[in-house]
């Protein structure tokens, strides 16, 4: 389709001259062919229309043929590579056409030639093709002999260095790519280029390291031990962050150090992180920087300090970062606002102004999501910082509107930010309630993609904490069904969050809520969760059970309707291979059951259960001993119906001896617990 369209648009005269160029490629005299290619080269420079014409008229396969023919002169082959490189400089469609003609294997094949000029022409063309977003990077890795060969060309000239490092920097997108390059000696080969006399080479080499080190411990660990001209690589990077260096260089060097730090290769309290990388990244967030730089700076900084409270504290007081980030929101927030401004500006005939606006609009989403990410990272641990963030002008409003933005990236970042702030008891009590953040959050939970859902549901867990004033309105909004459906998700994270939220919801809840949870979840699902492969899910489910089984009337009511299944599940877990924590939680449930009036009998009449309790009272782990003792203590408690009988029965089973032994235990709380239980017998 596109071809036909283009053909129609080309004027006859234009096609005629273009066809003439192509025809000359088929001349029987090689000298004429060479001259034809040279003329073609001069004709296409800077002329996108001519480039498109030649492609449509089939120049590419012929050029590739000439380039690959060993009978062609070296000069002709080189000129062909140059023309192809020029065609690649045009539109994205040009690149697609070139790639469709299998230009990449042809050029890679060309690299095997020994002539440097020809190699450089091929590399230059390959570079142009590979840095285009439409080229599948995988094409670089299809032939396993390519990477080692390209690596060996690094020593040939400054041009090969520039093109190759640029290709690597663009084509290293996955851990597999990192490992291929790493295994073929990328680090040793590229490190010396960091002190190349050419700025372009230095810069591209630096970019290579940033993509190689990203989330890659092996690369990062290797990098710290590399010496360049007797200097450690981290020092070389630190020097590249000096404030008189180009911004691009400062930013990329900061990325390298950030990735090395996150991969554990550099400590977070290392001076080059704390006094160089962090301040450098904060500077990248300043108003003076370009929008792209501000986005990258904020994202990298968020990544750097995510796990480290000390870095978060330092960043929070560096150069007014918290209020500097508020500026990230001062760009047109909706398309309608933009078009309004555009209409106005048309009156003034300022095209530049419009272009500027397009640019701003394009980056507005990016800026907002970057700011949210950085706020999320800043506030993930320190209460004072969270307070500072929420006190920033209109912050909560911005998060609330961010939650319902059209861009998924912004929504995700906004909910991350909200999640980070929701770890604050104080904020849950105040700003979260004041701005009714639960409303957009609930909306977000409907039909969101999984990654958003994970964050949103995790935030919801915090909003459902007992002291959160948002808990009531959320309950009333009918969230239970939604949470129950989350527990059926394929994603373990969503299952955990769903059951966790239910657990929080059930904590000290009304009978009505508890019944509703059990009903909505269904015992079948509850027991399915108890055999969930994810320990977190299992723990939270036990937690939910424990919260459901609290206060005597609730215990008896639930046990009367679901007692059999619950006892089965408890037995199963106590018999199974589980961690101490899981077993402890299960014994606590059992202790709660033992606290019920009628529920007690479910234990007493069970054949195995007292034996199991006995076993855990003699367990080597104190926590389990304690929980089991608690359980017995509840069973033999005086002043309750049938306590005498239970005491007698359990005495017969040898519990008194065990309790007596436990009163001698070295652990003071276990000792106390056993003594209290013994007193029930003495009274």
């Amino acid at each position: 389709m596109a071809c036909i369209e283009i053909l129609f648009r080309i004027s006859d005269k234009f096609t005629a001259t273009s066809r003439h160029y192509v025809d000359r490629l088929f001349d029987p005299d090689p000298q004429n062919v060479l001259q034809g290619v040279i003329d073609m080269k001069n004709a296409v420079i800077g002329n996108n229309k001519q480039k498109a014409n030649l492609i449509v008229l089939g120049a590419v396969p012929r050029l590739l043929y000439l380039l690959q023919q060993s009978s062609s002169s070296l000069e002709l082959r080189t000129e062909c590579a140059v023309v192809l490189g020029s065609l690649a400089m045009g539109t994205e469609n040009n690149i697609k056409s070139l790639v469709d003609c299998h230009i990449i294997p042809a050029l890679l094949q060309g690299l095997l030639c020994s002539d440097l000029i020809f190699i450089e022409a091929c590399l230059r063309c390959l570079r142009t093709i590979f840095i285009s977003p439409v080229t599948p990077v995988q094409l670089l890795y299809t032939d396993p002999t390519v990477i080692p060969h390209i690596m060996s060309l690094l020593s040939r000239s400054q041009h090969t260095q520039e093109y190759i490092t640029q290709i690597f920097a663009h084509c290293c997108k996955t851990p597999e790519h990192q490992m291929v390059l790493f295994n073929h000696g990328a680090i040793q080969n590229i490190a010396p280029l960091l002190i190349s006399p050419s700025y372009k080479v230095r810069m591209q080499a630096l970019k290579c390291f940033s993509v190689l080190a990203y989330e890659n411990a092996q690369v990062s660990m290797t990098l710290v031990n590399v010496l360049v001209d007797g200097e450690q690589l981290s020092q070389v990077f630190a020097r590249m962050m000096q404030r008189d260096k180009p911004i691009e260089m400062q930013l990329t060097a900061a990325k390298c150090l950030t990735y090395m730090c996150r991969a554990g290769a550099i400590r977070t309290d290392d001076n080059c992180i704390i006094l160089k990388t962090l301040p450098c990244l904060v500077r990248m967030c300043s108003k003076e920087r370009l929008l792209e730089e501000r986005v990258e700076g904020a994202e990298t900084l968020a990544f750097l300090m995510e796990p480290d409270i000390e870095l978060q504290r330092i960043a929070s007081v560096t150069d007014h970062l918290v209020s500097m980030l508020a500026d990230y929101f001062k760009y047109p927030s909706s398309v309608s606002a933009i078009t309004d401004i555009k209409r106005l500006s048309k009156l003034r005939h300022t095209r530049d102004f419009c272009n500027q606006l397009d640019h701003d609009l394009k980056h507005a989403h990016e800026l907002r999501q970057a700011a949210f990410k950085l706020y999320a990272s800043l506030g993930s641990n320190d209460e004072d910082i969270r307070k500072k963030i929420t006190e920033t002008e209109n912050m909560m409003d911005r998060i609330v509107s961010g939650l319902s933005e059209s861009s998924i990236k912004v929504r995700l970042a906004a909910v991350r930010c909200l999640h980070s702030l929701s770890r604050s008891v104080q904020q849950l009590r105040t700003s979260f309630h004041d701005h009714a953040v639960w409303k957009p959050l609930m909306k977000l939970l409907q039909n969101a993609p999984d990654e958003v859902l994970v964050m949103a549901s995790s935030t919801l867990c915090n909003l459902l904490l007992e002291f959160s004033p948002s808990k009531e309105p959320i309950l009333e909004s009918g969230v239970i069904e939604l949470l129950c459906s989350l527990t059926q998700s394929d994603s373990p994270a969503l299952r955990v969050n769903g059951i966790w939220a239910l657990m929080n919801m059930a904590f000290q809840a009304d009978q009505k809520v508890k019944v509703e949870i059990v009903r909505a979840l269904g015992t079948e699902q509850l027991f399915r969760l108890l055999s969930d492969p994810d320990t977190n899910v299992l723990m939270k489910t036990l937690g939910l059970l424990r919260n459901l089984l609290s206060t005597r009337p609730h215990i008896d009511q639930i046990m009367s309707s679901h007692g059999k299944q619950i006892m089965q599940a408890v037995t199963l877990i106590l018999e199974g291979e589980h961690s101490i924590e899981v077993k402890e939680q299960t014994l606590c449930i059992l202790a709660n059951i033992a606290d019920g009036n009628t529920a007690k009998e479910l234990i007493m009449t069970n054949d195995d259960m007292p034996q199991k309790i006995k076993y855990y009272m003699g367990h080597s782990n104190v926590k389990l001993q304690l929980a089991a003792t608690f359980c017995i203590s509840n069973l033999i408690w005086n002043e309750e119906d049938g306590s005498q009988e239970r005491q007698d029965k359990l005495r017969e089973m040898g519990f008194v001896d065990i309790l007596h032994k436990l009163t001698q235990a070295s652990d003071p709380s276990l000792c106390d617990r056993a003594k209290t239980a013994m007193q029930q017998y003495l009274a």
Binding site: R243, D244, L275, I314, T318, M324
Partner: protein, 549 residues
């Protein structure tokens, strides 16, 4: 002090020589200040080095070379607040100024303020509370901008913290640092001539200042690098608009006149040819000056004087001080063993005298006739008007590095460089020859009588007197080269002599005694010092030397 020197460096060398018992810390301080603020002329605007024992409230106590400040009042109410200022205000020529204060003890309440204040601001207050006073307070982390109420600014600070205060004299802002981390801009639109200031308010509060005595915790040099780059980019991108051609022509003229001035005739000819300009002096005349200069620069003063007298008969007669200077230099070269008279006696044959074809012609008029170079001429005129005023600066500081360059260029020209090279291998008085020594002593006597004659005729001349005294002092040492006056024997000392003689010759022919290039370099240097005086901080990062390689 060699290489490019500035006023500041000059003063420091005086200080260093003046007090030999200077301790390490002061040496480090001087080095650091010189490195950080090379553009500051400390003779005009000394840098703060300590707190002033005179400019403080009575509740302030100073110790440890006036660097430690402690509170010694009651500290009951804000009325007991007390401050101290540094000895000097911050010079604008710093460009970016920085000092740090370490909190040794926060005392009872930690009501400490760190900042800046103008001279005369009440010292019974914390910095920031009054007009022309600015402070960052430790108890609440607020900044106080000439007001009793603070603004939330940064974190609080307490015992063990190091607080830095940076004044940017280019955009007149100030930011603080805490333990090496920049806290962001605190004040804008600062007035000039602020003093570093600290204030304390409760008993037990003790702080130490670091004006450069120790390395700073914050990397201030990195911040300065950024501003240096900014200013230099501003200069590089200075818009010249439509006048590019005009600028080029002007620069070509300046280069040509410089080459002619220093008698690089071959280069000057080639340059004039390729840039299509006229040379305003006869080639022969240029060659004559070149000849004389080469003689002076190779230490053959006797021949130089003779040649000058031969070519420009009335010049030295009319200018007795110049002749005296040349002869003193000749005496020094005799001691050195390089002057032709003693070299001949020392057994080494002097270079045979060249004969000079024809007599020197009159020079062409020096003023450019083309009317298109209006701006250039105006510029020159202005420079000349100010010439007397700043000629010191030109010859002492900026033109030093400048002439260094010219001497190397000069000697490698044309035929003579092998013969005229230095042959002082043995470093013996007058080359080690007894006859030469006798000749030198006799010459010394002649010089003495010439000096007396000059004094009788024209009155006392302290410069001449000192010149002679320094030269004679050489004989007081068994090894003059390593004596305190030995510097005179260095060949570099020939350069000012050479330059003065050249200028004098040119002047007699109505040519400028300094080339326009040197003048504009001098003017640029002068503009920079004027900027420093009027408070434009960007002068710190635009050193003329940076542009002269």
């Amino acid at each position: 002090m060699s290489g490019p020197s500035s006023g500041c460096g000059f003063l420091m060398s005086v200080v260093v020589h003046g007090d030999l018992a200077l301790n390490e810390q002061e040496k480090e301080l001087n080095q650091r200040l010189k490195r950080l603020y090379p553009a500051v002329n400390e003779q005009e605007t000394p840098l703060p080095r300590s707190w002033s024992p005179k400019d403080k409230f009575s509740y302030i106590g100073l110790s440890q070379n006036n660097l430690r400040v402690h509170y010694k009042g009651h500290g009951k109410t804000p009325k007991d607040a007390a401050s101290v200022r540094a000895t000097h205000p911050i010079p604008a020529a710093c460009g970016v100024y920085y000092f740090e204060v370490k909190i040794i003890s926060k005392g009872r309440d930690g009501y400490m303020g760190i900042g800046l204040s103008a001279q005369g601001v009440n010292m019974n207050r914390l910095p920031g509370w009054d007009k022309h006073s600015y402070g960052y307070h430790g108890d609440d982390g607020h900044s106080f901008c000439s007001s009793g109420t603070g603004q939330p600014y940064g974190p609080t600070f307490t015992t063990g913290d190091v607080i830095g205060c940076c004044v940017n004299l280019i955009n007149n802002t100030c930011f603080y640092t805490k333990n090496g981390h920049s806290l962001g801009i605190a004040f804008t639109d600062l007035p000039p001539n602020l003093y570093p200031t600290v204030g304390l308010q409760t008993p037990g509060e003790v702080v130490d200042a670091n004006f450069g005595q120790h390395p700073f915790v914050f990397d201030i040099e990195d911040y300065m690098r950024e501003w240096r780059t900014k200013i230099q980019a501003q200069i590089d991108r200075f818009p010249i608009g439509e006048r590019e051609g005009e600028w080029q022509a002007m620069i070509q003229k300046m280069v040509a006149s410089y080459l002619v001035h220093h008698s690089y005739c071959a280069t000057a000819e080639a340059f004039a040819k390729s840039t299509d300009q006229a040379v305003h002096e006869e080639l022969a005349s240029i060659k004559n000056r070149q000849k004389i200069q080469k003689l002076v620069l190779s230490g053959r003063m006797g021949e130089a004087i003779e040649t000058t007298q031969q070519l420009y008969p009335s010049l030295l007669e009319r200018n007795q001080d110049l002749l005296f200077m040349l002869k003193v230099r000749q005496f020094i070269e005799m001691v050195n063993g390089t002057d032709s008279e003693v070299r001949c006696l020392g057994g080494r044959s002097p270079k045979s005298q060249d004969c000079y074809p024809g007599s020197p012609r009159l020079f062409n008029s020096p003023v450019h006739k083309a009317s298109s170079s209006q701006t250039y001429q105006t510029g020159t005129a202005e420079v000349e008007m100010e010439l007397d005023h700043f000629s010191n600066g030109v010859s002492e500081s900026s033109s030093n590095g400048f002439l260094n360059g010219s001497s190397t260029h000069g000697i490698d020209l044309e035929e003579c460089d092998g013969d005229m090279g230095e042959i002082i291998i043995w470093r013996q008085l007058c080359g080690g020859s007894q006859a030469a020594i006798e000749r030198m002593i006799q010459f010394g006597r002649e010089l003495q009588s010439m000096s007396e004659h000059l004094r009788r005729e024209r009155g006392k001349n302290s410069a001449n007197k000192k010149m002679l005294k320094d030269a004679f002092s050489l004989l007081a040492y068994s090894d003059p080269w390593s004596s305190p006056v030995g510097y005179q024997l260095d060949s570099i000392q020939r350069e000012p002599v050479c330059s003065t003689l050249n200028s004098a010759i040119l002047e007699t022919h109505n040519l400028p005694k300094q080339p326009p290039l040197a003048l504009s370099v001098g003017q640029a240097a002068q503009c920079l010092s004027l900027m420093a005086r009027t408070g434009s901080g960007s002068c710190a990062f635009a050193s003329v030397d940076d542009y002269l390689h």
